[in-house]
């Protein structure tokens, strides 16, 4: 069994740092056309007239497509990840381009193909539109008032879904409560912001009737399925190839309208067509925004008896892309790692006239972590107790796991108390707690904060009891093919893809371990729907845990065959053959190299290589004593304890992050370097969300954070080196016992940093921080004693 990868470094690191990696924009086939997108300048309006004639007159422009023509070629766009009703959501029809109404500033209204990028942009600029404005709905906070009695009639048309989850009897618990708190929290809209924005190159081949799409994408098989459907093609007629990807973070899932449009353009022009998103276009997307009105009942020991959260989640304009589904996950993840007997979550998911949500790392799970961790801190503060103790009092104990959450999500594994205590010890929390009170002074406020994060992972965001009329859900499988050829070379073909984080290295490592092969003997092929067995790409922190399990199963099958061959040659039982160091070792001490063994097998005429394809599905275990039946949902939960230390400059509101520590449980660690790489990135994102990142628009709904000079992310110089520890509690639900790495870290770091800043501010008499990010203007407003900056 592989333990660590000290001898197994990341396979392709040099191609990334050396500039050799080829991205979609590096592909330039002959006769290539470039596409540009014309976008709405209105948040909500009727399209009175769209004039494309001038654009056709721009030199180099080959074709302009607008809504009415597109509708004659393309089927309506399907919802990604299944029917909205799985999440209690309403359904609507989506066309690739609008015909009569625009719903946000930046919505595509036409596309232009031209001989070069300049001409395409010039053509797009020459398209003119006349609009009749309609009322724009840009601030969903109006839903916060009187949420208990349901949304007012005149606002009902904005409601996409209502999600309610409850357990126990919250009303009774509040009536009997010793202590109560009421808090509101506003989490800002933020964006995925990968280094490489989206990009597609579509090549239609009229002679074969096949469409090949090179895409910077996370989910090639989903893209193939949906493009085939929208284009009216057989799935076999579509090939998706994913070149190197410069980060995805959820942004590159299936659904944006440029996907079918670039393909249609290629088919109509009979030439390859490329579309590369600009940075400003990339920043249109967003997610995570949510408003919470939280009530908490607790006793003098800090034990939380009840929590009620009325939340409003504005998902932007409705879209078939999966982003809006994160709203359900946010509500369903309450009350995170805590064992709260009485829970009432009422979530309104509302459409606005802002750009649609895209999926973002964390997939909705970071919002509830932020809220619950703020709640734990504020309960502790009200009682004058150590926030660590209040958490210990409320965390789900190890012996109560598996633990069913109000939504129906099942916490499968974990040891939260141990993880928290190890994190506190690793960060030297007791000492920090004293130190922040004595250090500093009028020029510097020091603070320490903690957070506990759980992250449901592995795919399966719908949840709930499986009662009459409720559609069941099932685990999505991953598959892999492992083959070894006559020269002993091992090829792994996987249905999971690599957004740049390096899961290919983990897959190679797992195959090599089963086959006793060395690193140089293995190559990994991903992201090509013609070559790879199907899978879900990269999503829900499952590439290694689930995709890796399929690799292990396939590799085991090949290994078995190799052992049997070696055994037959030597006349010994197969169980006595050990595959190690690129050879089959026989009991008598002899060895046969894998290459030799394979040559023998090939010579026997058993094909040109030895190959096996296997698929793997994680499972849901059913806790004993449970009588209700539940839908299949996230098979495993990773968890983590986080401690942050900050210094706040009270005269400017600037925050410096001094330290960030995590102890993380992702089950069995397959590759420590890769897991920690994921954590580093996720934690950096969490820090950015706590302190800087904020999607902003003007009063008319037009994006104002159009570049990295306005949309600020945390950069290396402002981040301390993180301290990372592991505490592995394997999940019973995957073959290898491994859980996820990828999403976890965002919510934990976010909440810990916010709590640390709040700790510093509270000692200076500021009211609790409830609106984020805690950027200098907001911090200064809090220190000024009250009202937060808007």
């Amino acid at each position: 069994m592989p333990a660590s990868t000290m001898s197994f470094p990341k396979i392709d690191a040099f191609s990334f740092v050396g500039g050799e990696a080829r991205y979609v924009d590096d592909l330039r086939p002959p006769a290539l056309l470039h596409m540009a997108v014309v976008r709405s300048t209105r948040a909500h309006a009727r399209i009175m007239h769209l004039d494309t004639a001038a654009a056709m007159g721009v030199p180099g422009v080959v074709r302009v497509l607008a809504g009415p023509e597109v509708a004659t070629h393309l089927q309506p766009l399907p919802y990604s990840f299944g029917d909205p009703q799985l999440l209690g959501g309403r359904r609507r029809r989506f066309d690739a381009l609008p015909v009569d109404e625009v719903r946000y500033v930046g919505e595509p209204i036409a596309v232009v193909a031209a001989e070069n990028v300049r001409a395409a942009l010039a053509g797009a600029a020459a398209v003119t539109a006349e609009y009749a404005d309609l009322p724009a709905f840009l601030d969903a906070r109006v839903f916060l008032d009187g949420q208990a009695s349901g949304p007012p009639e005149e606002l009902r048309s904005h409601v996409v879904a209502e999600n309610r989850f409850s357990s126990g009897d919250a009303a009774a618990a509040f009536a009997a409560a010793e202590h109560q708190l009421r808090l509101s929290f506003s989490m800002q809209r933020s964006s995925a912001a990968p280094i490489e924005p989206r990009g597609y190159l579509a090549s239609w081949d009229e002679s074969t009737g096949r469409l090949t799409v090179h895409a910077s994408h996370q989910q090639p098989f989903q893209l193939r399925e949906q493009l085939a459907q929208v284009m009216g093609l057989a799935e076999e007629a579509v090939r998706i190839v994913v070149p190197r990807v410069g980060g995805a973070f959820g942004l590159k899932m299936t659904g944006p309208v440029e996907e079918p449009l670039v393909c249609l353009m290629s088919r109509l022009c009979q030439r390859p067509v490329k579309w590369i998103e600009s940075r400003a276009e990339c920043f249109l997307g967003g997610g995570r925004e949510q408003y919470h009105d939280v009530r908490v009942a607790f006793d003098g020991s800090g034990r939380v008896q009840a929590i009620r959260d009325d939340l409003v989640v504005p998902i932007g304009a409705e879209s078939p892309a999966p982003g809006w589904r994160q709203a359900f996950v946010s509500a369903a993840t309450f009350p995170t790692a805590y064992d709260v007997p009485n829970v009432e979550i009422r979530s309104l998911v509302v459409a606005t006239n802002e750009p649609p949500w895209h999926s973002i790392r964390g997939f909705g799970k970071e919002g509830p972590v932020l809220v619950m961790e703020r709640v734990m801190d504020l309960v502790a503060r009200q009682l004058g107790r150590d926030p660590a103790d209040v958490r210990r009092t409320n965390l789900v104990p190890r012996e109560a796991i598996p633990h069913r959450m109000p939504s129906g999500y099942l916490i499968d594994s974990g040891d939260f108390h141990a993880v928290l205590d190890e994190a506190l010890a690793l960060a030297d929390y007791e000492r920090l707690r004293v130190q922040v009170r004595t250090a500093g002074g009028p020029d510097l406020l020091e603070g320490v904060g903690m957070a506990f994060e759980v992250v449901p992972e592995g795919g399966g965001h719908a949840a709930g009891r499986l009662t009459a009329g409720v559609a069941p859900t099932a685990a999505a499988p991953e598959s892999a093919t492992v083959c070894i050829d006559a020269s002993g070379h091992v090829q792994v073909l996987s249905g999971v893809t690599n957004p740049g984080g390096g899961n290919d290295t983990a897959l190679a490592l797992l195959a090599a371990a089963e086959l006793g092969a060395s690193r140089s003997m293995v190559t990994v092929v991903q992201g090509d729907t013609d070559r790879c067995p199907p899978g879900t790409g990269n999503a829900s922190s499952r590439a290694t845990s689930v995709g890796g399990a399929a690799v292990v199963l396939a590799a085991r099958e090949v290994a078995g065959e190799l052992r049997r061959s070696a055994a037959a040659m030597a006349g010994v039982p197969a169980e006595q053959v050990v595959l190690r160091d690129g050879a089959a070792h026989l009991p008598a001490g002899e060895e046969v190299s894998l290459a030799e063994l394979c040559r023998g097998i090939v010579a026997e005429g058993r094909g040109s290589s030895l190959s096996a394809t296997r698929s793997y599905q994680p499972k849901n275990l059913h806790p004993g004593g449970e009588t209700d039946v539940y839908r299949y949902s996230y098979p495993y939960f990773s968890s983590g304890g986080y401690v942050a230390r900050v210094a706040v400059d009270p005269r400017t509101g600037t925050v410096v992050l001094r330290g960030l520590t995590v102890v993380h449980d992702c089950g069995r660690v397959i590759d420590e370097v890769l897991v920690e790489g994921q954590l580093q990135g996720a934690m950096a994102m969490g820090v950015g969300l706590a302190l800087l990142e904020s999607w902003q628009a003007d009063p008319y709904g037009a994006l104002t954070t159009r570049s990295f000079k306005e949309y600020l992310v945390a950069r290396a110089p402002e981040l301390p080196s993180f301290t990372i520890g592991h505490h592995a509690v394997p999940t019973p639900n995957t073959l290898l016992g491994s859980k996820g790495a990828g999403e976890s870290g965002v919510g934990g770091a976010l909440a810990a940093v916010v709590n640390a800043v709040d700790d510093a501010l509270s000692r200076a008499g500021a009211p609790p921080a409830t609106t984020f990010p805690l950027d200098p203007p907001r911090v200064l407003a809090l220190l000024a004693g009250g009202g937060e900056a808007p």
């Binding site: 010039a122 400017t652 302190l691 800087l692 000079k709 306005e710 950069r715 110089p717 900056a789």
Partner: protein, 291 residues
């Protein structure tokens, strides 16, 4: 975006002549210095000039020291400012400002001080520093050259005192500000952020009778000169500086206060005194360090 002609004038007079010609033909010129702002505007289709006037061959990229002044060509890059021995020795304020420019070595090599001045953004470092240094901006037009004090050069946000037929040639730093102890403080929201509020401070040299120059950037829509009480710089404590800043800011009409996506006017007004004080303190420290 349409096609446009590109010219490479060989001298400031050529540049002015080219601009005049374009104006007479009713064209829309775009002057490009280092191009770090102007080229992205072009490629993003935010501007649609008929003519591009590229100053790359103007030979105004020198730093010249004479007895009376240090003359900095409009096309001098931040990196030149960082590496120049004259700037290091006599204008540490300018060097410190250049060192804090973000964007890495590519930007520091390509972006010019003149370009930053002509962009005249309230959310940038250079304007306040140029005003603190009492620089004289030499502007070439079709009718010849004129000199504009830096303080008058910044007319409004993104509005330099340049007509459509003029280019900035160089910036002359007077002898009276050379070798003076100085301090610079920049407040920004994150590592990659544009400046939010800046302050540049020059203290008197030794015991002569000069005053203290204190200039704020990012508070008003142009650099704000803050009159500082004639005190021993050592007595310029937080309260005194903050009071002086508050008085200056209060005197400003509200519509001349600056706010943008990073921070509103209110925040800038609130931190202005502290930012100014930190610049003063750094200047005092640098003077004491030199003693």
């Amino acid at each position: 975006m349409s096609r446009c002609r590109v010219t490479f004038p060989g001298s400031p007079a050529d540049a002015a002549a080219a601009l005049l010609r374009i104006a007479e033909q009713g064209g829309r010129p775009l002057v490009i210095g280092g191009g770090t702002l102007a080229v992205p505007w072009l490629s993003q289709g935010l501007v649609a000039p008929t003519d591009v006037v590229d100053l790359g061959r103007l030979a105004t990229d020198r730093i010249e020291e004479s007895a009376e002044t240090v003359r900095i060509g409009a096309m001098v890059s931040y990196q030149q400012l960082i590496e120049s021995r004259v700037v290091a020795a006599r204008l540490p304020l300018l060097q410190r400002m250049a060192r804090g420019i973000t964007g890495g070595i590519q930007i520091r090599n390509q972006a010019t001080l003149g370009g930053a001045a002509c962009a005249a953004r309230p959310y940038s470092d250079a304007p306040g520093v140029l005003v603190a240094l009492q620089v004289t901006m030499a502007v070439e037009g079709s009718t010849g050259r004129r000199n504009v004090p830096a303080q008058d050069f910044f007319v409004g946000p993104e509005r330099p005192a340049l007509s459509a037929t003029e280019v900035l040639v160089d910036m002359a730093v007077p002898g009276s500000v050379l070798d003076r102890p100085s301090g610079y403080y920049k407040l920004k929201l994150g590592e990659s952020s544009w400046p939010v509020v800046t302050a540049a401070c020059l203290l008197p040299r030794g015991d002569d009778q000069q005053g203290c120059n204190l200039v704020l950037g990012g508070v008003g829509d142009v650099p704000l000169v803050v009159p500082v009480p004639q005190a021993d710089p050592g007595e310029l404590d937080r309260a005194r500086v903050s009071r002086a800043v508050a008085e200056r800011v209060e005197a400003l009409p509200p519509d001349r206060l600056w706010g943008d996506v990073r921070a509103d006017r209110d925040y800038r007004r609130r931190v202005a005194g502290e930012v100014a004080y930190r610049a003063v303190r750094r200047a005092v420290e640098s003077r004491e360090g030199a003693r």
